[in-house]
């Protein structure tokens, strides 16, 4: 539909388009520059009132030089667009822009006066860092892109903007380094996002689930982060950062399994300490998955595995426990999961109560009542801590989930069941792909050169090339600077 040229018709169309919209401002005024009537249209809630008053209304009302057509109208706004399509007017109004219709003109002027409520930039709550930057992403994609650009003032950093959702019309921006990112990986991601046909994408997490490679995997195949420095570090490895408007976390794709166990602090810590911490996390990963199942296997099948002294301690502790080990373990694990979930969404003052209740009831009362054994409490506590050490919340949740089938299989088959469970995990990780790149890289397929930055972290100067997992087209990262 074209924009009507007479103002009366414009007003009628506005009336028809926006029926029940109390925050819509339609303001008719006479402009001295043009010696014509104009209509200024904007949504009060999404536009910046100061900007409209100072930069639009003031010149329109008081500027005296002569303008003959739309292009010559003087306003103090840099980003001006012209359109003669009504649909574009609609979109623009909903984006917080103001629209200027001029009597007798087919074209309308779109002025960038956006200004909606937004939060100040703050440290991310979920991923806090000791040495990294203390700025986190916020809910406005423009600001988020700005945070990334601050790290990479480079013309190879490209931004590709897509719109997702019929109703939501979410702006989704793909950021990548053009000379590093593999074009086919980029195309794959772009195609997948373009294929999405939903009402609206409210959060990055939703977008991630709509485009992931294997929805039946327990593992997240893309990384969500609220940290600009983490996003940039991944950009430099040839990955693509997806900034979704209205969501404070950005998605990073393609991802590899091991990257979920790394934090940005690892690179700013000295390499020996970073390596130690990474090994600790790897250990924690296995403990979080296998410790309860090992306990079950050892108690119900292979007590001959344990030396005599240990078995006496365990036996003494389990003497009064009426439950079989698998029930005992599931009871305790469920209790701690419930505690966690309860503490997660409660306001901080009440959250502390949960901690006390959990600590006293589960730590002592359950043992004294003879419901569970002391050893089991220790096992559950270590397991819980193990799952907390995994830095990525998505991966930590996956690990917590995998623990339960492992416990069941080990209660049926002992260590053989655990071995088969691990085998299934290894096979699954070897099959899994992220945007068509191997998720298990650099372990399956094995790429020794990339092991420098996995469960260990070599000194930074030795990591001269980018990891292969995202198939970067430019491998060289830095030159050899020391011996």
């Amino acid at each position: 539909m074209w924009i009507p040229s007479s103002l009366a018709e414009v007003e009628a169309t506005i009336q028809a388009t926006w029926g029940e919209t109390p925050d819509l401002v339609v303001c008719r005024l006479n402009v001295r520059q043009l010696k014509k009537d104009v209509v200024l249209l904007y949504l009060d809630s999404l536009a910046d009132k100061n900007s409209i008053n100072n930069n639009v209304l003031q010149p329109l009302l008081f500027e005296t030089h002569d303008a003959t057509n739309v292009e010559e109208v003087a306003v103090l706004i840099g980003q001006k667009k012209y359109t003669n399509l009504w649909s574009e007017v609609e979109t623009a109004v909903f984006q917080g822009e103001s629209v200027l219709f001029i009597d007798g003109e087919q074209q309308a002027l779109l002025l960038d006066t956006q200004g909606w409520p937004q939060r100040a930039i703050a440290e991310p709550q979920v991923e806090s860092s000791i040495k990294g930057a203390h700025q986190g992403f916020i809910e406005t994609s423009g600001k988020n892109i700005a945070l990334i650009r601050r790290y990479l003032p480079n013309r190879e950093l490209k931004v590709k903007e897509l719109v997702v959702g019929r109703r939501g019309k979410t702006k989704v921006a793909l950021l990548y380094l053009e000379d590093v990112t593999h074009p086919e990986v980029l195309k794959e991601l772009e195609d997948r996002i373009r294929m999405i046909d939903v009402d609206a994408v409210v959060n990055t997490g939703e977008l991630m689930q709509l485009i992931e490679d294997n929805p039946f995997s327990p593992f997240p195949q893309f990384l969500l982060t609220e940290r600009p420095d983490a996003a940039v570090s991944n950009l430099l490895q040839g990955r693509i950062v997806v900034v979704v408007d209205r969501s404070p976390s950005v998605m990073i794709a393609p991802m590899s399994f091991i990257a979920f166990f790394q934090t940005i602090d690892d690179y700013s810590t000295r390499w020996m300490i970073a390596t130690f911490l990474r090994l600790l996390r790897t250990l924690a990963f296995f403990i979080a998955i296998f410790l309860p199942s090992l306990y079950i296997a050892a108690i119900s099948f292979h007590y001959e595995l344990l030396p005599l002294n240990l078995i006496l301690t365990v036996g003494e502790s389990r003497e009064q426990v009426p439950l079989p080990p698998i029930l005992e373990a599931i009871l305790m694990e469920l209790a701690i999961e419930m505690l966690r979930e309860a503490g997660l969404r409660l306001p901080a003052p009440i959250g502390q109560t949960v901690g006390i209740v959990g600590g006293v009831v589960i730590g002592q009362a359950a043992v004294q009542a003879g419901l569970v054994s002391n050893i089991m409490v220790v096992v559950v506590a270590i397991t819980a801590i193990g799952s907390f050490i995994i830095p990525n919340p998505d991966m930590s949740e996956s690990v917590r989930l995998i623990r339960f089938p492992m416990m069941i299989v080990s209660s049926l088959f002992g260590v053989i069941g655990m071995a088969i469970g691990l085998m299934i995990l290894v096979i699954h990780l070897a099959c899994l792909e992220s945007l068509g790149t191997p998720f298990g890289s650099p372990f399956a397929p094995v790429r020794f050169r990339d092991w420098k930055d996995t469960v260990v972290r070599f000194p930074l100067w030795t990591m001269r090339s980018r990891p292969l997992s995202a198939h970067p087209i430019q491998l060289k990262r830095q030159t050899k600077t020391r011996k």
């Binding site: 001959e304 595995l305 071995a419 088969i420 096979i427």
Partner: protein, 368 residues
Amino acid sequence: MAMTRIPQNEITIFQYVFFIVGAQIGIGILSLPADVAKGSGTDGWIAIIFGGVLSIIASLIIVSIMEQHPQDTIFDLLLRYFGKWFGKLLSLLFSLYAALAATTVVFTSIHLVQVWVLPQTSNYWIMILFMIPGFLAARQGVRILGRYAEIVFYMTLWMPLLIAVPLKDGHLLHLLPVIKEGWLPIIKTVKQTILSFLGFELAFLLYPYVKEKHLAKKGIIIANGISMAAFVFVTLVGFIFYSPDEITEYVWPTLSLLKTIEFPFMERFEIIFLAAYLFVLSTTGIPYIFTAVFGIAHVLEQYDHVRVLVVGVGLYIIVSFLYTPPFADLQAFSDWWGKTGTIVGYIFPVVLWLYMKLYQWLRGGKPS
């Protein structure tokens, strides 16, 4: 009728090597020291080296056959040279051979688990358990199997170190004198080592997927070399630790070696070892299951082998409900695998090679 499923399904030369090593090191190595000791006493390790050389020669013949048609698996090749019906018959026989190998590995693994770890668990439960990873891996292509074989190889590198622990109580004297009874018993024992080296014949299936084809010959020599080193190593450790007569009394001397290992925090370490050894067994069993299923799907002209795999896995589970192989049957399985393996791995390549030369010569010297 080009049913090659090669695009996007390449494996690296390392994956090819470890794929073959994985297929070779499996159940054979568990009983190998006793098997060769029965034939030629503590000179058995020399027989293994001869066996290795034989398998290298056979592998090289296989690779030179495959080189003639680098895009063909053995199943395509058989159709190309023997026509539709006879080619299909041969393909079916090859698949059945792989199925026999897979069955031997699966049932022996179940038996091992029952004897050493889970004496009370019925074999069908263990079969169902084993078939889960088996199905998940075998439904994928060669590429995933290659990746899996590669990572498992690195994951199991600690095992030889542990097997070496009993050496501290061993006596090198057991090995002397070398060649105490002449060469004849050694040559006769070579036959016993054939079963252990089987696995290289999977190059028939693997070759077209290899990315660096010019390295295929070197790769297969290295693969056989690694397996041979492992076999010789385990056998020597067994011979040094056990006395020459004692070792023949064990069914699985390699596992018995581990019974002597104890840690302050853990006794009966061989249980853990056996659980981890399931990974090694899986890289033997899964490739054979895959080969059998892939070949049968090829014969039935099914593009996707998953349906055949579902039937195969179902059959295994049903059979395991009805039939628990006693140890004698397992030995019969192994013997059959050894015999058919001699044909498929050693005789068949030579015959095929001669036949292809003849065929090409009749056709005017050019490969068809």
